[in-house]
């Protein structure tokens, strides 16, 4: 089948028939020659508009407990297992969290995520996050998400009842590749927390990190596994190799390949909130706007957990230039 025929068939499936692409179709699109990537991106943009609408959701994130994590995620500078430049810092208090949320609100965001470097929370952390969630809601009106690691059912229920509307827990990579990246917990533990999040009524934010050495086949495997956890949102990260971590010397994903996989994520997950996340600045460099026309419909603005992002005004201007309205995207509220 020609490239044009493959793209036409995928477009008909996703827009006219409203059916998901199968594994073989996704593998075929992933194997298209590099000069077909702009056409693939164009299809992904068309699918995003047809299935999600034109709005773009903006989010700010905050590391409310940095470093000292007992897990060994090989990409992460916050693991205590590696000699990283990140020095562990104490939990932020509620006043500091609210101040960061106010910074986020001033950027035009609708979403604020409280992130802690933990294997999982204890009761004290849950109490504090619930209190912070109420304070952020009251002071800023932002929707509050949290990312606190592995949850049990009671913790998930308490967070949901405490007003956390979305919970982030990334699969990061394919099940078959995960043991190469993390040895202190299993892919299945992550999957189970993702299932719990949905069962208790929170939206699931479940992301991916590309560029860790996984194969194209494993990226397709991940896409199918992401479908299984039914996320409302998928933040798409590209590895920004961190000094001192086992992946510190890995090369960046090439910009054109990043665009290919942004498009494939949209085509595989046509209705998710697909968010530009960490590593986009160093990976895509001056091609940021092309990701927005390759299927992305949400972004983290400003800084990340331990690294800086580009200036928020640049992203706001980019959206204005693209005539993309800023809005609130949600599958529950």
């Amino acid at each position: 089948m020609t490239t044009r025929a493959m793209l036409a068939a995928a477009g008909a499936a996703l827009i006219d028939e409203q059916r998901d692409l199968g594994e073989a179709e996704l593998r075929g699109l992933a194997a298209l020659p590099v000069d077909s990537v702009p056409a693939l991106a164009s299809l992904a943009h068309e699918v995003r508009l047809a299935r999600c609408g034109p709005e773009v959701e903006i989010e700010g994130i905050l590391s409310a407990k940095t470093g000292g994590c007992p897990e060994d995620c090989h990409f992460c500078s916050q693991s205590s297992k590696f000699e990283s430049v990140v020095r562990p810092t104490p939990y932020l208090n509620i006043r500091e969290i609210v101040k960061a949320a106010q910074e986020t609100a001033e950027l035009g965001a609708s979403e604020f995520c409280i992130v802690m470097a933990l294997r999982g929370p204890d009761d004290r952390v849950i109490d504090n996050v619930i209190e912070a969630t109420a304070a952020v809601r009251r002071e800023t009106g932002l929707n509050v998400a949290a990312s606190l690691g592995i949850l049990d059912r009671d913790q998930a229920k308490r967070l949901a009842e405490g007003g956390v509307h979305r919970y982030n827990h990334n699969l990061e990579t394919a099940r078959s590749f995960f043991p190469r990246i993390v040895t202190t917990h299993t892919w299945e533990e992550r999957f189970d927390t993702c299932a719990l999040v949905r069962e208790v009524g929170m939206e699931l934010c479940c992301g991916a990190l590309l560029g860790m050495g996984e194969s194209d086949d494993q990226r397709i495997e991940l896409l199918l596994q992401l479908r299984d956890v039914t996320p409302a949102e998928v933040p798409l990260n590209f590895l920004n190799p961190r000094p001192g971590t086992p992946l510190g010397a890995r090369p960046l994903v090439e910009p054109i390949e990043a665009l290919r996989w942004i498009a494939l994520f949209r085509l595989a997950l046509p209705e998710v909130i697909l968010r530009y996340a960490g590593g986009r600045e160093v990976t895509l460099r001056e091609l940021q706007a092309l990701g927005m026309t390759a299927g992305i419909n949400a972004l983290i603005v400003g800084n990340y957990l331990t690294t800086l992002g580009r200036r928020p005004e640049q992203d706001i201007q980019m959206l204005a230039d693209l005539k993309m309205p800023i809005g609130v995207l949600s599958k529950v509220i």
Partner: protein, 62 residues
């Protein structure tokens, strides 16, 4: 002696490529110790336990 704020090495031993454009400072320029760094959505705070805080430009805050 002055130290690189990206890697903590003495300044004369670092070629300056250790700190990426989007990395906050991680080491005190005055003593080379690791900084306490808190990144926020629109900025960061970086402080040495023995020296004055570092301003977001990377220069010591006066």
């Amino acid at each position: 002696m002055a130290y690189c704020d990206g890697c903590g090495a003495p300044l004369e031993d670092c070629d300056g490529t250790c700190r990426g454009e989007l990395d906050p400072p991680r080491f005190c320029r005055e003593c080379g110790r690791k900084l306490d760094v808190q990144v926020t959505p629109t900025g960061y705070r970086a402080g040495c336990r023995r020296h004055p805080p570092v301003a977001p430009t990377g220069e010591p805050k006066l």
